[in-house]
Symmetry: C2
Amino acid sequence: MRNYRLILEYDGTDFAGFQYQPGERTVQSTLEEAISKLAHASGRVTGAGRTDAGVHALGQVASFWAELPVPVERLAAALNSLLPRDLSVAAAGEAEADFHARYSAISRRYLYVIRQRRQRSGIWDRYSWRVGDEISLAAMSAGSRFLIGEKDFAAWGTATGRSKSTVRQVKQIKAGRRGRFVLIWIEANGFLKHMVRRVVGTLVEVGLGRRDPEDIQAITQQRDIRLAGPVAPAAGLCLVRVRYPQMEWDKSNGDENLFG
Amino acid sequence: MRNYRLILEYDGTDFAGFQYQPGERTVQSTLEEAISKLAHASGRVTGAGRTDAGVHALGQVASFWAELPVPVERLAAALNSLLPRDLSVAAAGEAEADFHARYSAISRRYLYVIRQRRQRSGIWDRYSWRVGDEISLAAMSAGSRFLIGEKDFAAWGTATGRSKSTVRQVKQIKAGRRGRFVLIWIEANGFLKHMVRRVVGTLVEVGLGRRDPEDIQAITQQRDIRLAGPVAPAAGLCLVRVRYPQMEWDKSNGDENLFG
C-alpha cells in the first residue's frame, strides 16, 4: 500500500458535502467509488476540510492509502475518467507515509463570493450570495481585524473533530471589490463548523451598518454563538487552498487567481 | 400592447441555444413560456444575439411586445419567479416602439475564457476551454490586429440573417491573462454564425505557434472558411454586453467585471 494525495476541484451544488453520509451523494463516497474501480486494495479517503453541502472547492486536498496499478503520473487522468463532471482531480502525487490530508495541514484558505445585485442570476447564484444593499468594505475590514490571531472562536462555530477545543488561529481576512462582487478571503490553521459562513454573515451585517465593527470583538469575547450573525449561504463559499509544512506540492493550483 | 426589453443572464450548458427549435429547450421558448404565464397577450421574443447551444450570457438583450398586468418596475422579479434556475432577468424596462433587440443593436461584446490546464475541472469546464500548452498572448494579439475594422469575414463564419452580406465591423479584440486563465474579449457590430468561436480557435493556434500571426490576414483576404482554424468549444463563450445608440439603459450589468 502507498499513501497518495490529491488536489480536488468540485462544484458543491449537487453534493451533500465532503463527508460520507449513508445514502447521500458526497464528495468522499464519490471519490472512494472511483478509487475502488482502480485499486487492488484501498482504504478511507481523508479530506483537509469537511466542506458543507453546497460548498465548492478549487483546492481541497485528500489523501488515501491504496495499492494502485496506475503509475502516479497518470493517476489524475485515470481518476478524472471515472469521476462525474462536477468533481475532478487537478493534481495527484505520492505522499510520505506520515502525510495525512487533515492532520498534516497547517492552514486552510477559503474564498467567499458576494454579488451585490437585487435580482437572482442564472449563472452566479450557484457560486455566490446575493446581497442587494451596498456593503461597506471599510466597515467590514475594521470588524475583521478583531478576528485575527489565536483566539477562542466558540462564538463562531462548534468543534467537530477529535479535540473539543474551540481555539483556532486566524491568519488573514481580506476583502475586495471586483465590479459588483465583494470577495472575502479567510485563512486559518483550522475552522470550526460553520465558522467561515457565520463570520461572513456577521461581517456583512457590519458592512451594511446594522452592527458596529466593535461588535465582532464583543461577540468573540463573550463566546456565545447566539450573539453572532446568521450563517451565510453555502453557495458563496469555496475552499481554495490548503497548506502543508515544507512542501512544494501544496502550491495553489492557481484557479482562484481569476479573482485576483 | 407595449414594447419591453430585458437583460438576460443564462448558463448555456443545458440550453440548445437561444433560438426556438421544435422539441428543444431553448432560451427563447423558455422565456416565451414565462411571459405567456404573465401576459394577457404577447408575441415572439427577439434576442440581440443568437447564442449557440452551450454558450452563456451575462448581458443578452431581448425584446417583445405584450400586454402585461405587471408594472414594469416589478417585471424582472415577476419573470424571475417563473424562470428556471439557469435563466434570469437582470433588468427589465419599457422600450420605444421602434426598439428591436436585434436590429437596433449597434454592437455585441463577447468574452471567451480559456483555462491553461491539462486536467479537466469539476467547476471550470462548464465555463471554459481547456488548453494545456502555453499560449503566447503577444502572438495572439499580433494576429488579432488583422481582424480589426470593417471587412468581409466570409472566411470566419456564415450569414444567417435577412442579409447574405458577410461584411462586419470588428471594433475591438483584447486578450489578457488572469492566473491560469486566458481571456479574449471581442466586440463587433455583429457576428456571423460561429465567427467568434472560429476566430478564437484560430488565434489559439497562433498563440501556440502552430500558425503565424500573418495567417489571420491571409485567411481573411482569401475568404475561404476551410483555411481558418477550428471552432472553439461553446462552453468558453459568453455574450457579455449589447450596445444601442443613445441609450443609457444598455449599460453593462457589471457581472463580467469579475474578470477585470
